[in-house]
């Protein structure tokens, strides 16, 4: 897989093997699979505030909707790029870069919550944890390229 900026200010991901397809499809799988409510998580510090009830009722549903929309858009872009067998390309336009960054963030967050990478070494990890760690590093790399070449 290759990830590179385009002349139009976006990003292109070249998908070369079936494994590449699998890794890309894992973005939404990882993000949705952890059972983590990201909206709850980002607003958790407000729990003691007197407006917490209103926040739960009015703001959180909107946040949940926008986070789900990010993953839906990523899934649609990957599905549009090909059948999962032949090489393909995913284009991330400048306009879509925020939602891709957010979706990748959700996937990393879910993996971090599930496996707690920051407190483990590669040698201590099980094969499943190691695989998740490598996916997390890949998501981080795409985020870094997005930050350096598209979002800034």
């Amino acid at each position: 897989m290759k990830v590179a900026p385009t002349l139009k200010g976006g990003l292109r991901i070249d998908i070369e093997t079936p494994l590449d397809w699998m890794v890309l499809r894992c973005i939404s799988y990882d993000a949705r699979g952890g059972g983590i409510d990201l909206a709850d998580r980002v607003s958790a510090p407000m729990a003691g505030d007197e407006a917490a009830g209103d926040w739960q009722e009015y703001v959180l549903p909107e946040l949940r909707e926008s986070f789900t929309a990010q993953l839906d858009a990523i899934e649609a872009a990957i599905a549009h790029a090909g059948d999962g067998e032949e090489p393909g390309e995913v284009f991330i336009t400048r306009e879509d870069s925020d939602l891709w960054y957010g979706g990748l963030n959700q996937a990393r967050l879910a993996l971090e919550e599930r496996y707690g990478f920051s407190s483990a070494t590669l040698e201590e990890m099980t094969p499943g944890e190691r695989s998740a760690w490598f996916r997390s590093q890949f998501y981080l790399h795409v985020q870094s390229v997005l930050l350096d070449h598209v979002l800034k």
Binding site: P45, A51, S118
Partner: protein, 105 residues
């Protein structure tokens, strides 16, 4: 439609017998802080970028706030009236930053 939280309850007696009452929050003069909290996932560059985007801060100021979040676990990124504080808090949470608001002491 603006669906940000409102601190208002309405009560009055109508023709059909429904009782409604209005309670206004009068503590509008107390400034509120918007606080960003540290987390293990968000990249430092991203936090800086979000602060620049939402508040229009220059990079040096946004980076200093980001470093305070990183080193102290939290930083006050804005202070002002409650309605705006709610708006900014919602914006920061939409960018997946752990954020809260609190009355200034």
């Amino acid at each position: 439609m603006d669906r940000r939280p409102r601190r208002r309850t309405c009560r009055s007696l109508t023709m059909s017998g429904t009782l409604t009452q209005t309670i206004e929050d009068v503590s509008l003069d107390v400034p509120w802080n918007v606080v960003v909290h540290d987390d293990p996932v968000n990249l430092m560059t991203y936090v800086t970028l979000v602060l620049m985007k939402i508040f229009g801060y220059p990079e040096s100021r946004a980076a200093a706030m980001m470093m305070e979040v990183h080193k102290r676990g939290r930083a006050i990124v804005w202070t002002g009236e409650r309605e705006k504080a709610e708006f900014y808090t919602q914006q920061l949470q939409a960018h997946q930053l752990k954020t809260s608001m609190e009355k200034t002491e």
